[in-house]
Symmetry: C2
Subunit: 466 residues, 2 copies
Amino acid sequence: MEENNENQEPENQDLLQDLSEKGKTAELVEMFEELPTMDVAEFMEERPIEEILQYLKKLDPEDQGRIFSDFSIDLQLKFFHSVDRRTFASVFGQMFSDIRADLYQELTKEEQIELLPYLDKKVREDVIILSAYPPETAGGTMTTDFATIFADMTASEALAKIRKDAPSKDMIYYIYVVDHSMVMKGLVTLKDLVMHDPKDKVLEMLNEFFVYAEVNEDRESVAQKIEKYDLVAIPVLNSLNQLVGIVSHEEAIDIIQKENTEDIEKLMGIMPSANDEEYMATSSFHHFKKRVVWLVSLAAIGIISGMIINEYQGVLEQFIILAMYMPMMAATGGNTGAQAATVVIRALSLGEINDEEWLKIVYKEMKISLMLSLCVALLTYLKIAFLSFHSMLPSGFSMEYVAIIISVAIAVQVVSSAVIGAALPLVVRRLGGDPAVVASPAITTIVDITGLLIYFTIASHTLGIS
Amino acid sequence: MEENNENQEPENQDLLQDLSEKGKTAELVEMFEELPTMDVAEFMEERPIEEILQYLKKLDPEDQGRIFSDFSIDLQLKFFHSVDRRTFASVFGQMFSDIRADLYQELTKEEQIELLPYLDKKVREDVIILSAYPPETAGGTMTTDFATIFADMTASEALAKIRKDAPSKDMIYYIYVVDHSMVMKGLVTLKDLVMHDPKDKVLEMLNEFFVYAEVNEDRESVAQKIEKYDLVAIPVLNSLNQLVGIVSHEEAIDIIQKENTEDIEKLMGIMPSANDEEYMATSSFHHFKKRVVWLVSLAAIGIISGMIINEYQGVLEQFIILAMYMPMMAATGGNTGAQAATVVIRALSLGEINDEEWLKIVYKEMKISLMLSLCVALLTYLKIAFLSFHSMLPSGFSMEYVAIIISVAIAVQVVSSAVIGAALPLVVRRLGGDPAVVASPAITTIVDITGLLIYFTIASHTLGIS
């Protein structure tokens, strides 16, 4: 989070900038072919659309597709609206199939229908099929750029087929072994083919026990498999075990980032959205809708705190010092509870702990919070000693005594908040829910209430009032 | 987060379990060679150490190394302590070099010195060199399992060298082109070598403008490059441009997960640790240390809220209804501020926004929070209408009037909290800091204070008291 990743490869940007300023277009286009496509895409993003079009025209179709795929979705759409349909269709046909399907889905129904006649039959079918899967599934995330061979081929026959089939834009590491109905039989790596004797049969090196995703599988589960098994890509099968696509490791990183954003949003009481909108691209009203439910619900529950204060009016009137330390009581409880909940939710999410260990976890949080409560209680006592010794008290009460009572109440609050914060996500997981829904604002609101009860119960009993 | 990823491939576990129960050891060992190593490692994790040892002995050294690399660090250490040094050294020598270096660093100095004489010279050097880099750098994360060729080779000579050099355990996709001093000249993919004519020179297909990491570069920056450029692996160069290792995509996922945990911890006011401890493996005292600083600091600042309440004692005594709605005021402000801060921090972290757009962002948050404030104010008014119409008020004041005042104060609090929550992370980023340090507990504490000031200022002015 510390780094701004704008300037990872500034030399490449400078190089392109320099050639462009000097008008060396031939060298510039040569560089477009040599440099990482992401750097070229970033350079072009800053140019006017006519200039981008000129550049793209000078590149071969494959490079056009690679670079255009790395453009932001906004620029891709702008390009669609700026050039004629035929020009667009030729670049579109060369894009990576998963990114192409994403772009297609951003078009309106009318635009889609307008574009379709200009596309090759193969591209048209590919786009329509990929767009049919819900975006949060393996099918909605996969690409159809993969290479297949048959099990009865020799290594050299297999390599010959790959040379023929595989356009150079694709990253090819796993080679999928299918039968003539595209039912997946296993996979080999390009390295297997290279290392074996050219006459060896594919069948002999076949990896039959491969990890795969089902086409309707949740994308988060797909990303977890890629992560767990350290895969470069995972094959996606339909219900007939036919190979319909692959999800690659870079998609897994995207998915993990999105899921992490969701978890963080849930933690803070923001409803995650089904689509993956960027901050600025999302309307204020949509942001509002994502936040309002939690906010209003918690404000509604917050009235309970007010009712408790109302109940103990008499105590507060006699010991106004209690009111002074009330916000600290609530805030410290909320912070302790949120810390405990966060740590437990994250550990559950990373699989470091499971809900069957709940007793051990709660016991551990109790130990941790006992130490925390000692520090906070000591601080509270010192604060009262330094700041409040001139406050008025009803006769018969010493400030030392009141200070000890407030400190003890805060210590009890710290321990109970940590236990509540740790236990609630575990309970939710146990009941089959997502522990992250016990968001930190919810915990804060709950320990506000329990805290006030602890505070006034201890105070009213020890001070002999009610 | 919804899914428990324990049972991704239950069939494989069942298969192994079944063979093991029926005592079919030969078939079991055959399956160990066929199944994904992670599944085999998970199966073995549940067995007694002697059984694991028996299984490993039946496998060839390469498979031993692959499977042992997928064991948890705990089991690896247990294995180290259970078998003789020579047996351990032979498995150790076959591990993936990055995981091996991590394991080596978990040993005590004495254990390291005891182990070293049993290792091959090559393994010994590799382990010592890799362990010398700080763990949060490219050097501390990289593996030395990579394949190199020379630029003047033909494609077929290059493939021959790869066949000779590359043990089958390694994932090989990029082939690094170096000179005889290991200075990196560029890279080709295995696919390039396969697709080209066998007589073509490597120089002709050489990719000279490659993305690389420096050996001392922060691992987060390395992961960002892998993510941005969709790399399977990134080469790591030292200051002499010599190729010293590679960091692969699976490490990038690990790093991203760790950094996300750090961000979440910071957001909740927990100091992230330099090492990456698991929840249960971390001592309670260490957990305590990670949480105590924020907790005590915020509790100390919290006294300001108490002082404000003290200041407005007179107002509270006359209008006890103000005390009833005070906790809701603080909690709602804290929640709004934390929501705004979270969204802005996450968007900054993902590069969706940058701090130069601060005015647009603050304006957007203002619009969002105006909508939120309308809802919250309405709720507040209704709550007062239903719950508090029997509260006592000084003569001359109507409850409708007081209800409107409290609702307006809460509305102002919501807007100001959102603006503070959004602006603070932007200010911190602008000053060159990490926006996540403006943790949600910090924001909550700040808006507690501003909220009380707003509340009492509005109330005392409109109610004509001080």
